[in-house]
Subunit: 389 residues, 4 copies
């Protein structure tokens, strides 16, 4: 009868003060017998995380290592950056760091953000395929009205476009917003809901779900690979053949082979949406460090690495991440340690979200170079053994 014993349930204690946290943790310890001293000993202020958690009992600490300098030049980056990586996968920081050194020895990488938006796709049910088409037409004809309704809910979000998708008598409307320095899911959900209620009201359709899985939020999808979501980030570098030889102990041609067989043949045959070596590792480590939504690693794992020989025999490597959702305000970015991590890279203020995206793009590039180089040199197992990965 849990309803009658709520004092026995730590999850039933409300409140966000340090005292609330302590009581909740103490009760958890009492019930489960677990000692939670380390979880309970944290340096962030609960206030900084008050919007990020309920039923807080403390913090999980993820070790953070520093990699760099990462020399990149993009639209919002130009210089050498140190990149904090929060991970528990041994060898990962060393691997990325090695890749950054190689990028540096190659004169630095070029980075860019090709596209920048956040999406939400509510799903409507109408009475027939005719009504479904009518809904789409209504939206096209009243786009201004819909935009106004959506944008009235937010000071930062700007509606960019709406893509309609009809399945039988159902309609999915994929709303695209520019959301400034915020990753923007929150903004977009609220703005799309206002617009969707208007559409439902005017067309008589039923708004069945505010998130119709054509957003696509946190599920692997061809949609996001094809059309993008969040930032579409690219980064590239040309690595001189001599650097490949000296630092990676292999040849450009062998790395091209690894890329071809691993990233294309293997991914193709396995029905994969990621044609890359390890985007997810670097995306996860930078996302955790900087307060991004860890579940968005799903989107960030999709993308295509291209590895090519140049005419002069050097190695061209580029990464292309069409759906990297990142921000520098909102979400977990205000938690004290995450804010510090953002500060390491100077990621605050105008255009800092794009700056962060470019830096992550460069770090992902470093990770690809290092891992493919290790595989080409036959070192994968060895690295795992010696560095305890």
């Amino acid at each position: 009868m849990p309803e009658n014993n709520e004092h026995e349930n730590p999850a039933s204690i409300r409140g966000k003060t340090v005292d609330d946290i302590s009581r909740r943790r103490a009760l958890t310890e009492k019930i489960t017998g677990a000692d939670l001293k380390k979880i309970g000993s944290f340096s962030i202020s609960p206030e900084s995380a008050s919007k990020n958690i309920e039923n807080m009992i403390g913090t999980i600490q993820i070790p953070v290592g520093i990699a760099g300098p990462l020399k990149i030049k993009g639209e919002y980056t130009d210089g050498e950056y140190y990149v904090p990586l929060a991970t528990t996968e041994g060898a990962l920081v060393a691997s990325v760091n090695r890749g950054m050194r190689i990028i540096g020895l190659s004169g630095g990488a070029r980075t860019m953000v090709l596209q920048d938006n956040m999406t939400r796709a509510p799903g409507f049910r109408t009475g027939s395929i005719t009504e479904a088409r009518a809904l789409v037409r209504w939206v096209e004809e009243h786009y201004g009205e819909v935009k106004e309704k959506a944008e009235a809910t937010t000071s930062h979000g700007k509606l960019l476009k709406i893509d309609p998708f009809v399945v039988g008598r159902h309609v999915f409307l994929r709303f695209y917003f520019f959301t400034g320095e915020a990753m923007g899911m929150n903004i977009v959900t609220i703005a799309s809901e206002a617009a969707s209620n208007l559409i439902a009201e005017k067309t008589g359709a039923t708004l069945v779900t505010m998130s119709g899985n054509m957003c696509v939020d946190k599920k692997p999808s061809a949609m996001n690979l094809i059309l993008g979501r969040g930032k579409h980030v690219q980064a590239e570098v040309v690595i001189p053949e001599t650097v490949v030889a000296e630092k990676l102990h292999t040849t450009p041609s062998k790395i091209v082979d690894v890329s071809y067989i691993k990233n294309f043949l293997g991914s193709a045959r396995s029905g994969a949406l990621g044609f890359n070596a390890q985007y997810a590792n670097i995306v996860a480590a930078t996302f955790l460090a900087t307060g991004q939504d860890a579940a968005h690693v799903v989107e960030g794992s999709a993308g295509i690495t291209t590895v090519e020989m140049t005419k002069s025999g050097d190695l061209y490597v580029a990464v292309s991440l069409p759906s990297l959702p990142v921000g520098t305000v909102g979400g977990g970015t205000h938690v004290d340690t995450q804010r510090e991590a953002l500060n390491i890279m100077g990621c605050f203020g105008k255009n800092s979200a794009k700056k962060l995206a470019e830096i992550i793009g460069g770090a992902v590039l470093a990770g690809e170079i290092s891992l493919m180089g290790a595989q080409a040199a036959g070192d994968l197992g060895k690295a795992h053994k010696s560095l305890g990965r």
Copy 2:
């Protein structure tokens, strides 16, 4: 000239002591101008994380909330569990907690692990399609020898089988191991490498890449959805119609509609591999809390939720996650705070990895119920607004 100024580069400082960490952090602060006091103030012992990180400068703290009790019965679970969730997504803990309460009011959920293995798929190049087939046959005929070679590298890993995939003159061998309480990537990589070297030597093939992306590690893939990787976890519950009405303020039929339109129509049309509402959120939060590899959220986001009306008008909900890679030893599970989180659920000792998988399955089920219920009741935007999600 970074090579000459290595003392200026925090990433060049070696060593894993608290002093090394402090020096590295101080240097990072000096170079970047960032104040890293909070990152530098942590309660875990660097020793507990020594195999998990290089170039450590401190820790990122992720707030952890407690949800529960989660009442489940499975092969390795039987009772009420409190589940730690590390996240910065506001409303998530509250949402999961609500789902758990509904599960409790419904008499609890049933959980199970259908399959349990870890995979690695090296890629070989041979000289022709004839040689490719010969390689496959050699492996079939010498399976015992290959198994012996692989298992000689590990005290825990047991080779279960090898699936061959031929693409032109290339061969991918997908090794499946049972790895006990460890998630097992490390074990499997080393064991597969030993076996692969033997195969390359005996057949004359070139081992191009130890990880040929048919593993498939940390990339979204139909392969893992179809064949599974890690634990295949399932959980189910029947929620009485009255509980749906009172606690979710909606009807079973409306939730069935949300599932149909969102999880099936929307996911189908977007070419998604996740036919669910929010697996990734709960997988990420439990993975971070318990020291799993955050990049494995990619695998964990794939899967299929089934929502059906029972004959008596109640609501049947099941989750099916075919590729959930989790362990209770190795990786980040030994970091102090993560170990404490595992202790909350009693996840140590024999079969604890399966126990953990079942608990995560139950938590994922709770998340599905709560989010689909909120969407059916038209509450998604509201929840985000009031809880700051």
Copy 3:
């Protein structure tokens, strides 16, 4: 030494007259020992097929059955149609015919074409990600010029838009054309090539391939499922519960179950892009009858069937084929027998391509109803046995 014995090679005989065909066939008979009398005895005039084949030796005859009447109402259809189906799969015509009878008993189906275009996507290589973005911008800024160049090659094709996709330093431009009554691949290839040569010349990029597999022509792809190609056709019908009972010997609820388990659960778990029962069968049979490109069955097999109970307990069924490439001029539509088949449905003149698409949509709907009904009634194996399918 085949080069020296070209008179011995039937494939080396040029010419398109009946005599050329006979000589070629006779030589084939001589060399292979096969009797080709039936292949050699045909009723079409070689002139009607002169642009459709090289090295002709005769014809393959595919039996054609008639199904109908199909009662439909759409934008370009209104009435009862008889549909020719060319197939060698026993039971298929009977199955479709049964579905049409049920549609008729339900008052007819509604059909529509939601979208109508043909695409081609050349692939360019540039020197860097910066140049790739510059190419995209050049196209945006010179859209009028590009459009003019493309349309100068055709009297029927109108460029609708260009979607750019960047992968590293490569750019794919997906050209969308309206092509009137023609399916349009030919028109689109030539027009896109003219435009692409202009773009390559002006930007300095290399046009590597005129068809960069983002068209996507004749490969299964999420792209076409999501964005469409050719006609996006929909058709729907509400079948009274009594008709389901009397004619399909089952219940609406059982058919909903078949659709859910087969078309959604099964297709989801197998990583399929077709969430339907048998689109490909009906698409193939109508395509063969009417001179469409048989390889386009690949595109036509993708799509989503929705089966739902209405509030009054009847059965709502809709089909959604986002990528059905069809035409009534060009290609095989001028071959005598295929032209006759088009005439059966009155598919000639203005808007006849859309009319044909709507009729095929209705026939596909009939096929879905019949097959799902048979499976719900447990008759699949029986039908195959008795009708020799």
Copy 4:
């Protein structure tokens, strides 16, 4: 009131004699006003097609061209073959023929069938995830009994294995049969149904659908790309650099580029399951000529072409079609013209299905070489223009 006017409906006339066909056609002409003289003038005997069609009114004639000789050596082929291609796509026969000439000048191609089976996957519903697992275990423990039941229905089919897939409380059982010279869908459906009825009876599960879309029959799917269905065919050739220069007017390196950018980058970014240039065209043309099921072009369009430079600068090309369903008995193979087409290649008797599969593999290889060569030489548009494609 169609029921009362059945004499007015050609689809209501039963019977398979020439006279029935004539009456049906005459009535169709009368109702629709279409002249069906050419459709009505055919050389096949209706008896040869009696199991392939209902409501026959005549035949559609597809022009067939001859390509060859195709020089190949495999397990069931050794020599020079002429390949009939039924198509209405201008330039296709010429293109394939050119590819075959290049194969011949390169000393011939190597072909093989790696795997050979036909599948069917019924879908069951049970009461719970526990019952779902119990069903799987029952099948494992009673495999002999299940096999006996299945094989009792057929003299040719041999059950090879059953792969279970569990989704919540639903179970899909993928049955794999060897079906000799038949493509085997029919055999497999009937045999699986017998086995499924036994399983349903013994376990109490409901057999919801005999074809649960995990077969996967005629829908594009990662399942078939990964696990195969029908024959897994491969073919390869090494083309000397001089032949590439003289006959394709390009270089090996340029063709490698086309393959990389088109077949890998383009297909990857579009979420495609076909990493090839034009498998579907050749599969369709050979399938139509030889009486295969045209809807199976869907399966045949999936697969991976590998194009690589050899150390000596020559061009290695291989095709890999994991799911090519073909047979030489049953289905449309007995229609007179189709039988003649099979005779051209000597495809009758023991192992002729595999022989046919190898020949198609070689023809597909020819098509890839020719099309990629044309694109590398910049000739695609030109070919379409001059040959009327």
